[in-house]
């Protein structure tokens, strides 16, 4: 394999990895606070992509305005999902909450099939992101370069919010001890909504970038990336934002690289994440950056 081909794959891997990272953050934040797999997270990501699509194609808005609008709508949508599917079950057994999460995911997907239509749509990629850049021998679509940059900027912003602001402190408190945080006067429901809002916002950004890199939109497009990004979050160590980003990059790079080096495995691409999951759960169940938790008897 020539070095330029390798660089090409590397760029693609990093770009895919940063998309995974954006989604994985949402999973890890929600899990950190509610101990719940937000099965609908992948569908929130799908929703964001469709919103951007409709804003550009049906409402003829400029792309930047469309993107902002799509992100805002997705944030509202994510908070709505939390309010209707998770909040009523806050004191229910975990199995109920999990079933509710799966149900919410299926409901969104099926409503999307009815409302958005089952046929694929093509995402209108703004020119700025579709340009082909030539760096020496390597030619790369500009969105491939923008994606990791945007991801890292958002990560920096997020880490700032979580570690330096009052709301962030409250988030950390809730994730450490839900009950104690409530007793200390933290409005837990507000914090949970805020967490969903941030996660959904990041998912929308991820969805839009995804649409520009892989421009075929389908109502079920969020399912596989959703599952994979949860896995990325587990690999990195669930509950840890930096871990989620690390997991996202590991997953994205390994998917692209394994297929690049072993083209025979192309068909097995979707299995790579699951194999990675099972390996990590057996070797280090707390993930690469996770902490140990023991159950109280």
């Amino acid at each position: 394999m020539g070095s330029q081909v390798f660089l090409q794959h590397l760029a693609n891997g990093i770009s895919l990895g940063s998309l995974y990272a954006l989604l994985a953050i949402g999973y890890t934040m929600v899990y950190g606070i509610l101990r719940l797999i937000n099965f609908a997270h992948g569908d929130i990501f799908m929703f964001g992509t469709y919103m951007a699509y409709y804003a550009i194609t049906s409402f003829m808005l400029p792309w930047w305005l469309s993107f902002i609008l799509a992100i805002l709508l997705t944030v509202i949508f994510g908070v709505m999902v939390e309010r209707s599917a998770y909040k009523p079950l806050r004191n229910s057994p975990r199995i109920s909450v999990m079933i509710s999460a799966i149900g919410a995911s299926f409901l969104i997907e099926n409503v999307a099939i009815v409302v958005f239509g089952g046929r694929p749509k093509t995402f209108p990629v703004p020119e700025m992101f579709a340009k082909v850049l030539s760096l020496g021998e390597v030619s790369i679509v500009s969105v491939t370069l923008y994606t990791p940059v945007i991801t890292l900027l958002l990560l920096a912003l997020l880490l700032y919010v979580v570690n330096k602001t009052k709301t962030g402190m409250a988030m950390r408190a809730v994730s450490k001890d839900y009950e104690a945080a409530r007793l200390m006067g933290i409005d837990v429901n507000r914090i949970i909504s805020f967490t969903f809002a941030m996660g959904s916002g990041l998912a929308a950004v991820g969805g839009i970038m995804w649409g520009m890199k892989y421009p075929t939109l389908l109502p079920l497009m969020g399912m596989m990336p959703g599952l994979k990004c949860f896995i990325a979050a587990v690999v990195g160590g669930i509950g840890d934002i930096r871990g989620a980003v690390l997991g996202g990059f590991i997953l994205g790079l390994s998917e692209i690289m394994i297929i690049a080096f072993f083209p025979a495995l192309t068909g097995y691409r979707d299995a790579i994440a699951f194999v990675l999951l099972i390996v990590i759960l057996l070797v280090k169940p707390t993930g690469l950056m996770g902490q140990n938790l023991t159950e109280k008897v």
Binding site: I95, L107, E109, I113, L227, I278, P285, E295
Partner: protein, 356 residues
Amino acid sequence: MKKHRLLTALAVVALIGLLGVFNLTFDSYKLRILNLCGIYIILGLSMNLINGFTGLFSLGHAGFMAVGAYVSALLTMSPELKDTVFYAVPIHPFVKAMSAPFPIALLLGGIAAGIVGGVIAAPILRLKDDYLAIATLGFSEIIRVVATNLQSITNGPLGLKGIDRVVNTGWSWGLAILTVYFIKKLMDGSYGKAILAIREDEIAAEAMGVNLFRHKMYSFIIGAFFAGIGGGLLAHMLGTIDPLMFRFILTFNILLIVVLGGIGSITGTVISACVVTSMMEVLRFLEGKMDFGFFQIQGIPGMRMVVFSALLMIVILWYPRGLMGTKEFNWDYILQRKYLNIFNKKKKKKTVSEEN
């Protein structure tokens, strides 16, 4: 107790008689739904054993079904048929040569699924709750990806066609009744009670000497076995299978049946399997053209699944115990006509609470 046994025997005879009548009077479309009901009873019970009785949240059912379906179908297909079906990639000689009559093929399909279930469960049983869910879902997806790619064995995305459609009411309902009997006997026995104890409190169960790993394995293997049987029946009812059939949505449908019926109730699963399967068909009108004489509405494709996912949400949010909770059908209840007293009882309770 003897009276109950007699009543049960009579009820089974009556059920068989009723099924016989259906078998003679139903057209092929209705018979197909009837068969599906039987198959979904088996599938629902097998999932209920793992998820409801043992309390392990597994989402691997579609994978186990796929194993059962492929193994049994490849065993009953004739070598000539296999050659015509495998036109894209030649079939592996061993797979071509293997063959067995339907009942044995079905059994072997179930056993294969049970083995796969055991092999999968062994490493991941130490995981809890959502990790277990995601890992089993992962394995189920891996099985599907493998089925898509191992073309010389599974014929890849093209799937298998021309499978003998031998499944009739006798097979589907006969095996459904057998499964009910098996699961009931298991849960009434000492092993079933130990399995329930794991659901109730793992730490206490272990402290009372229940070997968690071994009993979880039993549950998983038996559950996967029946899922495999269900998959084999489905293959021999539909006549064609392909990897896309065994997506997560299939697991979701079974989960819907289990949740609706009551997680941990055999009776609930049986009723709910019949209701959900029939409703799936009844609600087809939502997706076809509707003709009200003076005006017509175009059907909306995908509407059925919207209804079902909404139904699941409604049940889990407002009736989390489902139809039966963990309760079971009971002759005493019927014989004492307690159901006639439901209204009186409620009234009484109300007055009591008002007094307080």
